[in-house]
Amino acid sequence: MKILATQTDSPESADRRSFVRGVGVLTGVIALGHPLAALLPSRAWAVELRVLSSAEAAALLAMIRTIAPHDTLDDAAYALVVNAIDGDAAASTAARNDFKAGIASLGDGFARMPESARVQHLKQLEAGAFFQSVRLKTLLVLYSNPIAWAHFGFEGEAFSKGGYLLRGFNDLKWLPDVPLADSGPMPLG
């Protein structure tokens, strides 16, 4: 996934490029106030697709959002999953055909259906290989990137910051402290 550095790289210009290449692009803008917005050179992002068309990517994005619906989690996080599946689809002709057929089985207008209709539709596909491969990829990619970690509050690795020993591993105040006999003293206390 590329997070493009200029706001001028608008969806229109991206669409023109995809027309030239015969593949799609998925674009978005990270919400103002999002923790990442301050860190990135631009809030605009775009995924250049190798295999999937823009319409296929939009349907896939809707499917992924139905599998893992976190309303306030930015589309940029979901686009990472689309990007990963596009990469898998690019691996071979068979994979490309399988994914394109899978997305086609979502039907026209899937991305515009109300959520309840999308859920009903996916339940019918649930036992199949396409659904399961998208579901697994969603779990693997969506929940292992810094956008999602920031969203859910997971602070990730702490070795580089000296661990949590002095940074809140025992800062819970809404229950009583554990007696020393059942635990142990702080090593640096």
């Binding site: 893992a68 509050g153 070795f159 402290d177 554990v178």
Partner: protein, 522 residues
């Protein structure tokens, strides 16, 4: 590091470098023996451990496929990864969470204590508890176990505060920060735990005991360890008298090699140990090496495992702190009034992202699923670890459908949970929910049976050679210079996380080998 000749008939071969193999390497080289240790994986170090959960998983895990069958959950929830263990120098001690409880006296007398249980292949261990306890004490000193030998307990984390308060309200008495092979103070040339919470990714401070940076470097310092990494043993060979003569292996370049040996110790984790013995079939051992009893691969145990999560109105931040630093011991008893034989531990646990949805909620999708992860900050977690019943048909065989890169059949795992396991799991997860509800959980979530992280029983110890594969020293009944040095030898599972028992039995086995060699009998 020495490089012993392939035709050196004086070396001891050890297959696997984890809790059993790594400990054996230190103990045998210390006694003056020459050792060649094979490890299928690569060598990492605290400096190279990845701190990205997905990368660390790929770096450390045994990812070669397995086929599986039966009615246990991983057939459906984890079809390609029924067992989660390591393929790296140090084996599963690199990713373990370092809980080191002892088995209880009743547990090594399971057949006598529980009586005949239909559908279970229970047996008593061929070892006295006093003897096992003596070796537990040696192992606990070696590993620096907390709450033993004057080592302070771990301080209480947020996650443990929730477990402790809830368990006390239910009336549980033995609730503490667990026995852990993690330094609560600097010790043995290694630092203390800084509560990173990334135990499973490999401990960056080496506060957690692993053979990777304790037993194996000591064995190397002896000048008598030839450690061959990325080398995969495919067969154990024997002579006409039925004694092991060495191993066939693929070296790091994939070329087939043959290493001679005076003694072979197999410590590949109970799935691969059984697979290697089965792959070593011959005219004399038509059903696999040392398998005249037909017991190799059978009685596979993996513990009754389930996560229980509680969701609260206020933050817990359960990812902060040593993962398993908490336990409720009160249910580690045999009390048939609960509706099942044997007992269980409730152990503190957390799962990072993305492991929580992958392992903790593997079926999940949709609103209900997502709403659990939305509450990630406010979750507390624990893991049920209970004794599962050995069953003759819960077993490792050679896959008829899948082959590895060398064209050899991979391990096939068949598991049907015993009714006792099902009843225990229902009781244990129910108690886990009550613990969280007692301190105000607004919701509790129970995982299905997780991929197996504890592998036991596939070459079990027995007095009667017809009922097991190895004797009380883990020595094959049928092949006098073949030893099994991992959890495969456990006669039954008990409720204890197996590593302390593996180390205790390896220390004892090494002393036995040293005595036999000194006496000219090996």
């Amino acid at each position: 590091m020495p490089r012993y000749e392939l035709n050196d008939t004086d070396v001891v071969v050890i297959v696997g470098s984890g809790a059993g193999g790594g400990t054996m390497a230190n103990e045998l080289t210390r006694r003056g023996l020459k050792v060649v240790m094979f490890e299928a994986g690569k060598r990492q170090s605290p400096a190279t451990f990845s701190q990205n959960p997905g990368e660390a998983f790929a770096q450390l895990t045994w990812l070669e496929p397995r086929s599986q069958s039966g009615t246990w959950d991983p057939v459906k929830t984890s079809p390609t990864l029924p067992a989660w263990h390591c393929r790296t120098v140090g084996g599963t001690t690199v990713h373990w969470t370092a809980a080191t409880p002892r088995l209880q006296p009743y547990e090594i007398r399971a057949r006598t204590t529980y009586g005949e249980i239909p559908g279970a292949s229970l047996a008593d261990w061929p070892i006295d508890y006093a003897e096992l306890k003596r070796w537990y004490q040696v192992a606990e000193k070696r590993l620096g176990v907390t709450r033993r030998n004057g080592n302070p307990g771990m301080p209480a984390s947020n996650n443990f505060k929730v477990m402790h308060a809830g368990a006390r309200r239910l009336g549980y008495k033995r609730v503490h920060t667990n026995y852990l092979a993690i330094n609560s103070r600097p010790r043995d040339g290694r630092g203390l735990c800084i509560q990173q919470g990334f135990c499973v990714q490999g401990c960056k401070t080496a506060a957690k005991w692993s053979t990777l940076y304790t037993e194996i470097p000591r064995a190397e310092a002896s000048g008598r360890l030839d450690l061959r990494t990325e080398c995969f043993v495919t067969r154990i060979e024997h002579d006409d008298a039925g004694r092991a003569t060495g191993v066939v292996y693929r070296d790091a370049a994939g070329a087939e090699q043959r290493q001679r040996a005076r003694i072979v110790c197999v410590a590949g984790n109970a799935i691969e140990t059984a697979r290697l013995l089965l792959l070593s079939e011959s005219g004399r051992f038509a059903h696999g090496l040392a398998n005249g009893s037909g017991q190799v691969g059978r009685n596979y145990c993996h513990h009754v495992l389930s996560f229980v999560f509680g969701i609260f109105d206020q933050p817990v931040s359960f990812w902060r702190g040593a993962v398993l630093a908490g336990v409720v011991e009160d249910e580690n008893i045999h009390d048939p009034r609960r509706g099942f034989a044997g007992g269980y531990h409730l152990e503190l646990a957390m799962l990072d992202l993305p492991t929580l949805p992958l392992i903790g909620m593997p079926y999940g999708w949709g609103r209900d699923f997502a709403s659990v992860i939305d509450n990630y900050r406010n979750m507390a977690g624990m893991l049920v670890n209970g004794e599962d019943m050995p069953r003759s048909d819960n077993r490792i065989t050679l896959s008829t459908t899948l082959k590895d890169a060398y064209g050899l059949p991979v391990a096939h795992i068949h598991c049907d949970p015993h009714a006792n396991d099902v009843a225990m799991r229902a009781h244990a997860t129910g108690q886990g929910r009550k613990i969280y509800e007692a301190v105000g959980a607004k919701r509790t979530v129970v995982s299905p049976v997780t991929p197996a992280t504890h592998q036991m029983g596939t070459a079990r110890m027995s007095h009667d050679p017809q009922l097991g594969v190895t004797n009380a020293y883990g020595r094959a009944h049928e092949v006098p210079n073949l030893f099994v040095s991992d959890g495969s030898v456990q006669t039954t599972a008990g409720a204890a996380n197996p590593t302390l028992t593996i180390v205790a039995l390896a220390l004892r086995q090494a002393e036995h080998i040293g005595r036999e060699v000194a006496g000219g009998r090996l």
